[in-house]
């Protein structure tokens, strides 16, 4: 078989599991209807603009600012989530304490809560007259209605992605590996930084990528806390809505295409890092 497949690609390998043709058909149809057709429609609409029009729309200062804010805040939020998500997962996996199951369940709240509700709640807290905002204001720190507020909202919605991808991998870490490091003289800190964390890298990157992707596209929770000042705290999805409301469809699709393109590039990069690290050390063992 190996010989044959090297000379001629065979579409269908004999398999004991029936239904390959049907399953592949359903998969492709579904993917086409839900993902490919809308995305290609987007590209098709914006390609009708012509290159110079397109570039003019994209390089518009307000658009560039909105894109920078969207990707920048999503990146910062994903980094914060990567750190605290790993710590949170560690606590949930490693320690037993009263209320652990409640906390474990609460991690999923950002998944379930309507994002607008989260946005309003966060705004109420972080606004200059809110509980937290009023404490920070005397220090000269403003959270709500600045990009910092966007980061806070994105940290909120992105947290479960990191926790839920890292947690199962952490649970599978063999206790013996830690004991082996200890018998070799490694301190607790060395064991964590040199043995445990590198092993969590692929899962952590997956969580990071998911939180980042979610952050770039997030709308509901952000628009309340962001203040939406053009050039300062206006996110790209909001700008798309604004253009749509102005019936300026070419501008809306142009921004959308750039977002699609940038998201695609970033996911590709992160996935390649992941595939590389996975190929290196997580098969078998």
């Amino acid at each position: 078989m190996a010989l044959r497949s090297s000379t001629r690609w065979r579409f269908r390998q004999p398999s004991v599991i029936p239904g390959f043709g049907l399953a592949l058909g359903v998969t492709l149809t579904w993917l086409t209807l839900i993902v490919l057709i809308p995305l290609s429609g987007l590209i098709w609409r914006s390609s009708g603009l012509g290159w110079s029009n397109f570039m003019a729309l994209v390089l518009d200062e307000r658009t560039v600012n909105a894109l920078t804010i969207s990707f920048g805040t999503a990146f910062i939020a994903a980094v914060v989530n990567l750190f605290f998500g790993v710590v949170l997962a560690w606590v949930l996996v490693r320690y037993r304490f009263p209320g652990k199951r409640v906390i474990d369940a609460m991690v999923d709240l950002p998944f379930a809560l309507p994002t607008a509700v989260a946005g309003i709640a966060l705004t109420a807290l972080y606004a200059p007259n809110g509980w937290i905002g009023s404490l920070l204001e005397p220090l000269g720190i403003k959270i709500a209605f600045t990009p910092a507020g966007i980061v806070v909202a994105l940290v909120f919605v992105g947290l479960p992605f990191v926790v839920r991808t890292v947690q199962p991998v952490m649970e599978e870490i063999d206790k013996e590996v830690e004991e082996a490091a200890a018998t070799l003289g490694a301190s607790r800190f060395q064991t964590i930084s040199r043995v445990l964390l590198p092993g969590l890298l692929p899962a952590g990157l997956t969580g990071f990528a998911l939180a980042f992707a979610r952050g770039v596209g997030e709308y509901g929770s952000v628009i309340f806390i962001a203040g939406n000042l053009p050039y300062v705290s206006e996110i790209a999805p909001l700008l798309i809505i604004i253009r749509l409301e102005e019936f300026n469809y070419p501008a809306a699709t142009a921004i959308a295409t750039v977002m699609l393109f940038l998201s695609f590039i970033m996911l590709l990069v992160i996935n390649s890092i992941q595939a590389w690290s996975r190929r290196r050390y997580s098969n078998g063992a």
Partner: protein
């Protein structure tokens, strides 16, 4: 370095895993902890390593009390059953890990670490594989990396927990021989845990037989096999038969007849007779012997194993004969007598030492296994 375990007691919850265990391990010795699962052998090994702390008792490394030291300070090498290699590190990084994590005052220079790791990889016959990752190695290779990694820190004592347990029979045999060679070459004091008696008897200088959290017997493989001191060791090491007998004025009686064995100076009463399947002689005409009907016959390598039915009230007895002697005996009645045997009194009683066995006649033996 010699290791002395003194009156160690270890409880998990309220269940004692080890109960007042003492053991002297000589410097440079290869010693096996042998026992069924739940006998406390792995717990003892982990206590020596410092991966568990004793409820009571002391462990000495040389003259130094090691029991209050942490596992990092004890400087031991530990090999796990499932290797526990760091899978995101290359083979070379795995082996040099123990040297790299040392505080800078005790850490050799990088070139020296590399040289030592490469030397060790040569010792375990893995030269050329230093850039591989654990996932790219076979089980036997991984276990050899684990051993090289443990030896890299120049440990006081090398501890191996069922080191060949996860490997298939062929690889296991090879590695066993190879471990013996490595030990003879490097001379590390080595303790390994196994439930495989063949492995323990073949590999170790001395064997520690454990059962139910206590040490049953410590001795060379010969002593353990030829002179077991308790019914448990008799039953656990090698094949053995046991039958219920009665003692009457120095004669051993089986049911209603004497079997021609004498245990002089023993008080009358019930006892259990132990003997090995190959320690028997066939007798013509039964003037005083054991006799049974052959119910099954199996050829095992160079000998034939016969199963004999001694009577309804007794479990079947197995004996081994050369095939040419056994061929004429199928489905007939066989009369035989043990040539080497040992008597143990029932629960809480005194062991009987016949002439053939040199153990002292007054030795107290735990029964009840």
């Amino acid at each position: 370095m010699e290791v002395r375990v003194q009156n160690i007691r270890k409880e998990f919850g309220r269940f004692p895993a080890l109960d007042d265990v003492s053991l002297d391990i000589r410097s440079g010795e290869l010693i096996a902890l042998l026992g069924p699962s739940g006998s406390g052998k792995t717990t003892l090994l982990r206590l020596i390593a410092g991966l568990e702390s004793p409820t009571d008792g002391t462990i000495f490394f040389g003259a130094e009390d090691a029991s209050r030291k942490s596992v990092q300070q004890r400087n031991i090498g530990f090999v796990f059953q499932h290797y526990a290699l760091f899978r995101h590190m290359t083979v070379l990084d795995n082996v040099s890990f123990g040297l790299k994590v040392r505080p800078s005052s005790r850490r050799p220079p990088a070139a020296e670490i590399r040289r030592r790791a490469l030397d060790l990889l040569e010792l375990v016959q893995l030269s050329g594989l230093e850039k591989r990752y654990p996932a790219q190695l076979s089980g036997g290779q991984r276990q050899r990396v684990a051993l090289a990694r443990a030896m890299a820190v120049e440990p006081n004592v090398l501890l191996l927990d069922e080191p060949f347990g996860a490997l298939d029979a062929q690889v296991r045999k090879e590695l066993r021989k190879w471990l013996r060679e490595i030990h003879d070459r490097t001379g590390h004091t080595t303790v390994f845990v196994t439930h495989d008696q063949e492995e323990a008897l073949e590999l170790a200088d001395r064997v520690v037989v454990m059962s139910k959290g206590a040490i049953e017997q410590v001795g060379t493989p010969d002593e353990i096999y030829d002179h077991p001191v308790s019914p448990f060791v008799y039953g656990f090491i090698g094949q053995s038969n046991c039958i219920d007998v009665t003692l009457s004025s120095g004669e051993i009686w089986f049911e209603d007849r004497p079997i021609g064995l004498r245990a002089a100076s023993e008080p009358d009463g019930a006892a259990t007779l132990y003997f090995r399947p190959h320690d028997i002689e066939l007798i013509d005409g039964c003037g005083g012997c054991l006799a049974g009907l052959v119910t099954a016959s199996r050829r095992v390598a160079g000998t034939r194993h016969l199963e004999l039915d001694l009577g309804k009230a007794h479990p079947p007895v197995e004996i081994e004969l050369p095939p040419e002697r056994a061929s004429s005996t199928d489905h007939t009645r066989i009369a035989f007598r043990p040539t080497k045997w040992k008597l143990f009194r029932k629960e809480g009683d005194v062991a009987v030492a016949p002439r053939q066995v040199e153990a002292p006649a007054t030795e107290l033996v735990r029964t009840g296994t």
